[in-house]
Each structure stands twice: as C-alpha cells, then as structure tokens.
Symmetry: C2
Subunit: 498 residues, 2 copies
Amino acid sequence: MKEPYSRERDSLHDMPLEEFRQAGYQLIDWIVEHFGHIDEVPVLPAVEPGEIKRMLPQEPPPEGEAMEKILGDIDRVILPGITHWNHPRFFAYFSITGSGPGILGELLSAALNVNGMLWKTSPAATELEQVVLDWFRQMLGLPKEFWGIIYDTASVSSLHAIAAAREQLKAYNVREKGLAGNKELPPLRLYTSEQAHSSIEKAAITLGIGLEGVRKIPVDAEFRMIPELLQKAIQEDRQAGWQPFCVVATVGTTSTTSIDPVPEIAQICRKEDLWLHVDAAYGGTAAVVPEMRQVLAGCEEADSLVVNPHKWLFVPIDLSAFYTRKPEVLKQAFSLVAEYLRTDADSQVENLMDYGIQLGRRFRALKLWFVLRYFGQDGIMKRIRYHLNLAKKLADWIDRHPNFRRMAPTPFSTICFRAEPPGVTDRETLNRFNETLLEKINARRKVFLSHTKLRGDYVIRVAIGNLRTSERHLEEAWELIQEKYTETLKEFSLAAGS
Amino acid sequence: MKEPYSRERDSLHDMPLEEFRQAGYQLIDWIVEHFGHIDEVPVLPAVEPGEIKRMLPQEPPPEGEAMEKILGDIDRVILPGITHWNHPRFFAYFSITGSGPGILGELLSAALNVNGMLWKTSPAATELEQVVLDWFRQMLGLPKEFWGIIYDTASVSSLHAIAAAREQLKAYNVREKGLAGNKELPPLRLYTSEQAHSSIEKAAITLGIGLEGVRKIPVDAEFRMIPELLQKAIQEDRQAGWQPFCVVATVGTTSTTSIDPVPEIAQICRKEDLWLHVDAAYGGTAAVVPEMRQVLAGCEEADSLVVNPHKWLFVPIDLSAFYTRKPEVLKQAFSLVAEYLRTDADSQVENLMDYGIQLGRRFRALKLWFVLRYFGQDGIMKRIRYHLNLAKKLADWIDRHPNFRRMAPTPFSTICFRAEPPGVTDRETLNRFNETLLEKINARRKVFLSHTKLRGDYVIRVAIGNLRTSERHLEEAWELIQEKYTETLKEFSLAAGS
C-alpha cells in the first residue's frame, strides 16, 4: 500500500498526515478545554479597536511556521478578541450554537472540500441536501410541494425569493431586459412590515428595486403587520402607477420576535397575485415542537420561506434553508449553463447551481445531517422546549418585578424589556437610563445582551438559544441586571424604593 | 473548577465533551486514513442518479443516534457519492485543495462559531480579516490603497463589484430609486469578454441590468478581449442611447485561463469613466510568484479585483478575497444599520456588514491565516511553481505527440488540448471523437478531466492545482489519455498510424 502523503514536510505537497493527526488532536483537545471552562471566560472581549491588529505582523510570514506555534496563537491573539457566540451567557441578537455534531460535520466538509455546483461534482452533496431539507420540511410541518435548497445566509435566501418574485413578472422579462430597459412598465413595489429585517431592504437595493420600492406596512400593538393596511397600500400603489410584486412576512422579527398574521397576508397575496415570501429565519425552527406548530400557520400558502438552522438548530454558521413551491421560477431566473459546466448526467438530475447566484456550493448539508441524526427529532424538541421554558421563566421574573417591564410579547425565546425606575415617566430619561443600564451590564463582560428601539423606546433584549445555557446562567444574568439597575439608579440619583 | 458540560449525554445541552473528544479523534483519524489511501480511491463515484438518496431514510430520525454510527455512515453513504475534489488526480474545472492547515482553520471557526457582522461581535474576526487580506495584497503586489474584504464566492465578489459600479452612477441614485423608477435615464451596459465567467451574467440578472445589458467583446486568437473592439462597442452604445458603466476583465478565464490585456482596458476605462473590475479568481494567485507577477499587470489601476484563495491557495471552500480602492461606494450602496445593530464602538471601527449583502459573516479569515502561516510565502511560491512546472510538462508531452494538439496557450496550470487522429479534419467528427475520448477517460474513474468548447471545437481540459498531485499522477493521466485514444480510434474505425 502506497502512502505518498505521510512523508516528512516537503516543499511541494500538503502537511504530512502524521503532523495533521497530531495537530488535529491538539485542536480537538483545545476545543474540549475551551468549552469545559467557557463558564469562566468573559463572554465579551476587553480589547480596544486596533489592539488585535497590533498583535499581528504587518507583513506576511516569509517562511512556513510550525502548526504548534500557530495553534498556540489562538490563545494569544485570537481569544482576546472573541465575542463568544458559543457561550452559555451569550444572550445578544439571536443566541446560536455551533454544537458538537455540527462542528464535526463542518470538519468533514472541509476535508472532502467538494463543490456541489453540479450533481456530477459530488452526487452525495446534491442528494444529501435534498434529503435533509426534506426531513427538516417534515419536521416543520410544511407541505410536500415545498422544494428546498441550502444558501449561506437568510440575506441571500430572501434575495433569491425576491428575485424569483421579480422574475415571475412576465411582462418585465427582467432576466433578459433588466429593469432600466423596461421604460413602458411601472416601477416595482414590495411590501414588508416596519419590523422586517434589514436584509429585505438590502435585497431591494441589490435587485434594482431601490429603497423607494419597499413600502413598510405599519404594525399593531404587538408589532405584527396590519393586513388591512397592507391591502390598502397595495390598492393605493396600483392607482399611483406602481407594480406591486411581492410581500415579505416575518415569523419572528428581529427586534421582538413578533409573528405577522400570515394567513391573512396569504389571502391578500392570492387575491392580488403577489409572491409571498416568509422570513422565518429565527422563529421557524420553533415549529419542530408540535405545540408551537401554529407559528407557521398560513406558511403552507407561501411561495417561499426561509428558516436558518444556523440560528436555532445548533448548526454552525452558515446554513440557511430555503423552501419554495416554485423552484422553476428560480431556475428560469438563474440557470446559465456554460459549456464547461455541461455533464452527461444533466438530463436526469438537479444541478443546484441552476437555482442561485453562487456557482460555488460547499457541502453544508453534512453538518445539518449530523445535527439532525445526533440529537434526533425528539432531542431537538426537548432542547427547543427548554429554551422556550427558560424564556418563560425570565419573562415571569420580569413581570413580577415592580421596576421592570416587558415591552413586547414573548412568543419564542427572546425577551424584550426595560427598567422603569419609580417616578420616571419621561421617555428621554427612561431611554438614557436603560442605555446606561445595558452598558453597565455588558461592561461586566459576564453576559452579553443587546438592545432595540420600539416606537422610540430603548429596550433591552435577552435572546436564549445556546445549547450550553442552563437555568443557572439565566439566574446569573437576572441577578446582574438587578445589580446594575441599582447602580444605574445611583448614577441617575434616583431612589431605590418603589 | 466547574465543568458543567462534561457530564453524560442529557436532553437539554450539547454533546458531552468527552464524547466530542472521542468523536473528534475518530474523525481526524478517518481523515488521515482517507488521505493516506486516496491514491487508490477512484476520483469519480460510480453511483446512478438517486442511488445515494435511496440509501437514506425518507423521514427524519425520531431519536438521537450514536456519533459512532453517524461517522460510520460516511463510508457507507457519503463516500460512494463523492467526486473527490481533494484528490491528486482531480484535474477538472479548476483543481483546488482543502489543505491540512486550512481544514484545521475551518474546524476552529466552526467551534468559535462567531458572526463577524460587527467589529463588536468579535473584534478578532474583523481585524484578522483586515490583516490577512493585507498580507495577501502584499503577496500579490497590489497597491496599498486596495482595501480588502472576504466574501463567500467569486460570484458574490463580482456581484458586489458590479453593484458598486452601478451605485457610482449618481444620476441614477439606484440605492433609493432602483432601476425601474428611473425612466428618464438610459439603460445600463457592462462589458466583458466572450470568455468571461457565467457569474458576470448572473450578477447582471440579479442587479436588474439584464442579459441585454451585458455586451460581450470578441477575443483574439489567444482568447483575450480585444481592446479596440471594447472601445468601439462603448462608442456605439453611447450613440445608441446606452449608459456604459462597468468593464469586467479576466485574468485566467475559465475555459483557457487566458489573460485579458488589462493595461489597455484600464486606459479605456479611465478615459470613459467606467468602473474596472478584474476577475482573477483563479489566475490571480499565480502573482505570488515573482516571475508570474506580470499576470496582474494593469490591475493596480482597477477599481476592484477578486482572487479566490479557495481556488489555488489551498484554503477550503469558501473564501473569496475582494479588493477595491473605493470601499466607500460599497458602503454607500449597502450600509443599512438597524437600531438593534448599533454598538458603542461604531464610530471608531469598520463594521464589515456595511460592505455587503450578507449580514451573517462567519470567521473565514482563520483558515487563510493558518494556510499563509503554515506554508509561508516561500512555501506557497514553491507549490505554485511546482504546479506551473507540472503544467509545462504536460504541455510539452502534448506538443511532442503527433496526434494531440494544444488548443490554447498555457499561461497558468491549466492545459487545453484535443486529439487529432490522422486524416480526420472534419470538425463534427473531431468533436465527437474528443467527446468520446473524454467519456472513456472519465469512465475509468481514475482521473477526472473536464472540457470546454473553443470556437466550436470540443476541447479537453487538464487543470492542475491540488497539493496532493505529483508528477507521477500526471504521468498516469497522460498514459490513460493515450490508452483511451487508441480505444477511441478503434471505436471510430480509424487507423492508429500517423
């Protein structure tokens, strides 16, 4: 048996295999050690801007270095500048997990290093992607007609959804003519709520719709799109010479995780013949739990939907699952088969490059496969339920405290609240108070919380979703919040009593 | 010391750490074993469409499974469907490498699982990205003003370049007004050669330019854009009411790796006030070798340029390095800062989410850092030179063989050739002959070559770029090519003698 790659380090080939094995073990051990003590590690780094940069040489290394030295620099150079997203007390933005099985899936994917652009360039990459996305579709209770594909991020998934909506406008013939050349046709408009994610507007910029082509529909007291106002906006726009073409509803908005009334919105889209895309990047995963299934009510009528397993399904970033009942529209928009990409299998298979902007497609399905199999449906449900229960606990602690108030409903595992010191009713002061409070909490570097603004009110967010988080971590966070509340009271020269 | 994560498998948290360690070692061992014997593994799989799918359950696993069983299924279910891009005899498309240090970098990135969207969400992710891209810039000999950012693929890098070119057209105000609303303004046109990559057209579709907005400039006998024809096309288009806005030149086209005359094209762009983007996704890396530096001649004048370290710099996919002298235009197009993304550091730092479509940004810089340090500039140069020399060898073998002919110059490590059996001059027959020859070669599954068409001629391509490839592998490929040539002669009832 030849083993041509196990030889000594040479100047022509890859790292010798025994060196790879040793370095691999060393890095696996490092990861185990890191997670084993992550509880004691500050979730936020203490570095100033430019500090990490200054620890690095300004010029590329002229000669190769030992892997041991490079791995040693993780502790010296990298860790001091890491905000630990994989930490039990990371409660900012949306809390995510790079889980054990997910990390191993990513390792395998890097080793195989296939580009799944065509079926032929690794049949397993295409077919495993089809199968695991269908598993996940079943877990979410979505209809059989929903065809799935993996993109990198929800930003890119939603971009593809809106591109498909645009492509569907036959009169425009956007693929061939573009938008600038279609002078007789009206400008395009898409609708989404005031609470929608910024990626929808970025997609509109990218696709040549422009920010003026995005009409934001007001929300109700619970931050949900108001369908009557959507209906009214569409009518107004048609009369004013716009061409409505797409509605983006959200299941789990970024600020408050509110859920747009998708059944009503779907009805309007059907009537008005508009593409309905649902951004369920965070919230969609909750539907794996039967008692939460209703968060996706109405989504069976959508034209497309995105859920991100790298958000709340324990898969390392990036992996965004995109579903549509109209893959042929995506293909019509994006299929461009250069001669050098033709294969003998093309007539019998699905080549996933035909459905998107990116030609390169790494083997992301592996890590989702590892995660779904390792935890199983049952294990995933238990973990999602646990996060939902933790959120209920914190919501309850806040509700029972006289000086804190929840600022939005908590349909998932993200809590929006603020402190309301006795006697302070002025918005400006309340905002400054809460901003200061959050700064003090995060400055301790023990927990990381983020914020948002709701109707002008500064609001603190606690997002729960990391697999390492236990009730104890939440208690620690709640204690710290109260401690820093007291400090902030002093700073604002306010009395503690209610 | 608390070790809350080392306990037994439970239903609420991640994989226990000791289990992770064992599975991690097992997977590292698997990778070592896999690479140790990859020479004996067929580079192409033998499966029929649907075969991998049929080996997988149709429904998601109800209960969790043991990691050992999951890892065992790599050999049973995944490998039979893998086209081995990380194989010494993979010569198709562009040959790439997921190298040892690159694989370890990806492993670390999955474990940390940070989202580098903001400086604050992991300062090291932003600053390491800035530093390693500047190292790589120096290695390529690009000017200091070139600012760098990592995107996933060259498709997305070029999309951003063309979006910036579009944004630069002040009169259009594309960000706000989109393209459909700009009725008084002429339609947009971008220029690229007939040999440009399909991603340029996909970007034009995406951005609302449309395929009609892409004018393909003819190439010379060596497949390079003809600057005089570019100049003429721009003039014609201006007269006909188009608005020229962007030229995409290529350094290393996909079919033949031809190099557009960038200095002349840059001059035209300057005169005509057009954004010049250079797609050097594959070819750019060669510039790390001093004697190849001239392949980027003229690129110092470009507005933007893309080189993919995941192509010929031994970094696992995906990692595309994008440089521009005008990052502010990208930011103007794409910066959209939702309240929940504001941080106290914003005024002092670069938040990389401001420069692109995707909000989520995984920590890709780590693997590039590992690769540059482990191999060093010197080690990278030696390896690139080795690939260039291997290509010269094969070119020489072909040139000396009476029945084979190179069909394009070989400026890098990719060779285009065809068989020309004695007495056969009819194009149709030559095409069928070479198509059959390639089918026979690949059917053996020992090497994987791909093809293209050049001016109607069917051409076989051999791309060299995997770190595991030695001269011996190339010899094996050349022997096989000749053996299958003889078989094809028989099939076509042609005589062997010349």
